[in-house]
Symmetry: C2
Subunit: 216 residues, 2 copies
């Protein structure tokens, strides 16, 4: 009843498919073996153990991330376009990105984008440590947004809902319209673009970062 020879590539492919469809918890060695039609222990010969199998999947994801090219006229617009593209790519593979994050390889994954951002910040006239700060601020902004967004999506029914919580506030709200707006659902794309634009304006604009003062 021998099947065609098992390859490391085949193991990785099937494992990746399992993760994409049902999340990382669904990737058990026994289930993977069943999917492949082999004995559980054969997998060990090809990939070592579960941990290094996951490592390999993560490595793959990092490599998969397509190169991102900026679009737009001004440096600010081009930076925002990189941020948007980045967000899009990350959201296309949530499970695998989460695994990259858990393994602390987010930095690695972001390198191509970082290069693109660096070029734009340079074009905007910033140099040295100040320029680096802008690159990093944008990078953190993007990763942070994606992580928070994903979190929000995974749990659409908060209990109690924000609405309810705001209604039970002890102090009267200063602005009913604000209260209503905070109780309403979020448009993540919109919030994302608004935030990135504000951050970039704040960093590139006349009020830019003040490297020497630390007090709030």
């Amino acid at each position: 009843m021998a099947r065609t020879a098992l390859t490391r590539e085949e193991v990785l492919e099937t494992a990746a498919a399992l993760v994409k469809q049902h999340g990382p918890t669904a990737l058990t060695m026994r289930r993977l073996a069943a999917e492949l039609g082999t004995a559980v222990t054969s997998i060990y010969w090809h990939v070592g153990n579960r941990e290094s199998l996951l490592d390999a999947l993560v490595e793959r994801t990092v490599a998969d991330l397509a190169a991102i090219t900026p679009h737009g006229r001004t440096p600010a617009a081009r930076i925002v376009s990189v941020a948007r593209a980045l967000r899009h790519e990350l959201r296309a593979r949530p499970h695998l990105v989460a695994m990259v994050h858990e393994r602390g390889l987010t930095e690695r994954m972001f390198l191509p984008a970082q290069r693109a951002l660096a070029q734009e910040v340079h074009a905007a006239g910033l140099r040295g440590t100040r320029a680096a700060e802008v690159v990093r601020a944008v990078q953190v902004q993007v990763v942070g947004h994606v992580l928070v967004e994903r979190n929000r999506e995974r749990s659409p029914a908060q209990s109690p809902a924000e609405t309810e919580l705001w209604q039970t506030a002890t102090t009267d709200p200063p602005d009913p319209a604000l209260t209503r707006a905070l109780a309403a659902p979020v448009d993540p794309e919109r919030l994302f673009v608004t935030s990135v634009r504000a951050l970039v304006n704040g960093l590139l604009g006349p009020h830019g970062p003040t490297p020497d003062r630390r007090d709030g």
Copy 2:
């Protein structure tokens, strides 16, 4: 060999201690039982199962989060102070915060801070949906930073290091000082304050959010 009567409170306390010291994976029902000096199955009577035990721990963390009060003179400074305090609180209990995040209760946990931010944004003269957008942008900014920071700390030795990656760049870097700065280690506190300040300036300042245009 009967010990004093087991209480739900005692179970939660011991479970929380285990998580704080060794992370959530260390919290197995058998280990918890050993720590408590009872049979594994006794725990089930008090907390149902592992899942609802974790739920209870998360609920506790949300409740534990101390009320945060703004400091400073201008609304912008007061917003930044809330952001810093928030970051500090979150970083004090990383494992539990991660669990709150995984369970999608980040929103809930942030409500007190959200109220404080709302008041400051109101004081800064913003109203309605625009004000709400600022509150949310700052909130995401803080959570995002904390998540990314924690990720960076958990894996101090990136392989290959950023330095190495930048050195192997195919295109010549436009700014050697920028390249050097990006290869150097990050000061997270500094990056955080710079980013929040820039975001707040960008949102409250003259270039504020433009709610109707969506193009980058």
